[in-house]
Subunit: 124 residues, 2 copies
């Protein structure tokens, strides 16, 4: 599928092939975003992406391509951990926040109980 | 690299090739964990994994293979979002915990201030 300006999609440009009206990549890889396909191609390979898209319904493919692009970008930036590194950071953040929340709730409970005990004095 | 029992590594078994002492996959894909390589191969492709391992130092490859296996498993289970779905869930969890913590801290501050105002009465 060529764009209105007549350019091939970013995938066909990188794969050096003719972009036809039936191109499965074209809706998700516009010619002005070449890096999106470049990283996906480097990490997953064009044929694996094509297989994956073919297994999904049309209305699921856009989300799938975006999540694959996110994963590929993360792996290019961080070749050892990729986006699993992001998951690890977030899991630690959740754990820390849960601990801080539990502490704040414990303090709050103690303060509320302490105020409760003071009530008879307060209203003397 | 064949194991002590003489079996090929899981990667060479799946790729139907001879597993030699120089096999780059063998240290990370033991014969008794065939699914680990199967999913990585399905999602990334063996040649992409090989390229990625070759770009890393020896002591980084084990972590890289494990994070790739995690990503591949997530994508097989959830073809649209893969492990980006996990990131999305964790980000929402962080946001919710931050809001709950801010609320708990606001209540705590109010209670502490309220107790402070009551002090002169308490000690009458």
């Amino acid at each position: 599928m060529t764009s209105s300006s007549g350019s091939s999609c970013a995938a066909c440009k990188i794969l050096r092939r003719k972009c036809t009206l039936k191109c499965l990549f074209a809706p998700y890889f516009p010619p002005d975003e070449p890096h999106k396909f470049a990283n996906i191609h480097k990490i997953f390979g064009a044929s694996n992406i094509l297989k994956l898209l073919n297994e999904l319904a049309l209305n699921q493919r856009g989300d799938a391509v975006n999540s694959l692009a996110y994963e590929a970008d993360a792996r290019v930036r961080e070749p050892i951990y990729g986006c699993v590194g992001v998951i690890s950071v977030l899991q630690k953040q959740v754990l820390q926040l849960e601990q801080e929340l539990a502490l704040a709730e414990r303090y709050l409970t103690q303060h509320v109980r302490a105020r409760g005990r003071l009530k008879p004095v307060e209203y003397l």
